[in-house]
């Protein structure tokens, strides 16, 4: 049903489904969603190893264009959707954190349609830094 991604794939199981359901119950994040993320398979993750082609650090959502070797000497371009720029700024990103040509490892929830796009789970940079799709910033300690 899904097109084989040109990179190594990581499986998922009922454990992950359960954890995600629990996460939703705990977080109640859905009220803040810009729109539905139903087009993505939120219980499946795949890993892409490639290089950055372009980062569109724009509203309403940041897009990361990644070139991934297809194993036949060519490259496939993936479009990876992250959160809003404000969310990313509050969680360690800068607009120029990723630059064209940067090697990256990206874990993504792939589109159900099989298209080469996905929802960002995390990106690991060459220096080992790991950044997420933009969630809550770290809270401050209580002072009372």
């Amino acid at each position: 049903m899904h097109r084989q991604p040109p990179a190594r794939r990581r499986g998922s199981g009922t454990l992950r489904l359960g954890l995600l359901a629990l996460l939703v119950l705990l977080t109640g994040q859905s009220a803040a969603a810009h729109h539905s993320f139903a087009p993505f398979d939120l219980v499946r993750e795949i890993t892409l190893v490639g290089t950055i082609k372009e980062v569109q650090f724009t509203n309403p959502h940041v897009w990361i264009q990644v070139l991934v070797p297809d194993g036949k000497g060519g490259q496939v371009e993936w479009s990876i959707e992250a959160g809003a720029p404000g969310m990313l700024l509050r969680t360690g990103w800068k607009p120029n954190t990723l630059k064209p040509g940067d090697p990256v490892t990206i874990v993504t929830h792939p589109a159900r349609s099989g298209a080469t796009n996905g929802l960002l789970v995390r990106v690991t940079m060459q220096d080992g830094r790991v950044l997420g799709p933009g969630g809550p910033p770290t809270p401050l300690p209580s002072r009372d």
């Binding site: 803040a32 810009h34 309403p60 959502h61 809003a84 933009g134």
Partner: protein, 281 residues
């Protein structure tokens, strides 16, 4: 992140009402030239404004500033946790049907303003900024283009036939001791569900809980106050909507004061793409 000016005040709260009022009722030159007229005006002004002035000059809690919602923040202070929507909502027939309709992955109108419940939803994803004046409190939400205006000048809601239905409704507030009590009516019933669209944000997962619609009969009574030594804001939201729900329900929402965060621009219709399902992203 460096310390920002988001907690900056243009003037001390206690001095604001007096300056504003006198400037509007006493033109400067007239005071010198036409003392008797102005005296009469002043007497009238003092008579009509004195009770309001004394009430407003009484110190009220300072809620000015940027606040970050604590929904979904795993390591937040456990005393200040948002409460969930009811697990088993008591829908009317219309409400149940509307809930099913809104459970679609296609989300038209997602760039419209949200409901006041959504704006005060206190998720950890977007901050709000409160601008607190003596007669008006304005709440900005990073992801919503429309500000929420809460009138605290003693006015009432307009009569029904003069009330323009709107996404955020008409909100009036008054201070009861340390609590800001806000009453909201006049919503247009065309907003996204109160608990957001189905199937979560970028950092959550699958969401199969029922959607909570709101009709134009939505009526909110909110009790907003500082808690946690003034570092947290609590909003207890009593929600009734007889067209949608057979009985009212209450939500509690919490934010943390953040002087280190500024609101960013959010332009919902800027760089959008259409996915394979036809949904503009």
């Amino acid at each position: 992140m460096g310390r920002s000016r988001s907690d900056w005040h243009p003037w001390p709260i206690a001095s604001r009402p007096l300056c504003g009022r006198l400037r509007t009722i006493v033109p400067g030159r007239a005071l010198l030239l036409r003392v008797s007229v102005v005296s009469a005006l002043l007497a009238t002004a003092v008579a009509s404004y004195a009770p309001a002035l004394s009430a407003q000059r009484r110190a009220v809690p300072d809620i000015w500033g940027v606040w970050m919602g604590l929904g979904g923040v795993a390591d937040a202070d456990p005393r200040f946790r948002n409460t969930p929507f009811p697990a088993d909502p008591d829908f009317t027939e219309w409400g149940a049907e509307e809930s099913r309709r809104l459970a679609s992955p296609i989300t038209p109108g997602e760039c419209n303003p949200w409901s006041p419940v959504g704006l005060m939803g206190a998720s950890g994803l977007f901050p709000i900024q409160i601008l607190q004046g003596p007669n008006l409190i304005v709440v900005h939400h990073e992801a919503i283009t429309q500000p929420r205006r809460i009138y605290t000048d003693g006015r009432r809601h307009p009569p029904n036939d003069e009330l323009l239905p709107s996404f955020l409704g008409h909100s009036i507030g008054r201070w009861e001791g340390d609590t800001l009590v806000v009453d909201t009516v006049g919503t247009n019933g065309r907003t996204r569900p109160l608990n957001g669209y189905v199937s979560g944000a970028v950092n959550s997962g699958v969401d199969t809980a029922p959607r909570f619609p709101a009709s134009d009969q939505l009526h909110l009574v909110e009790r907003i106050r500082l808690v946690g030594a003034g570092q947290y804001l609590e909003d207890v939201i009593a929600i009734e909507d007889p067209k949608t729900y057979r009985k009212p329900f209450t939500l509690k929402r919490y934010w943390q004061r953040r002087t280190d965060i500024d609101l960013q621009e959010y332009a919902c219709t800027d760089n959008r793409r259409r996915d394979a399902e036809g949904q503009e992203r």
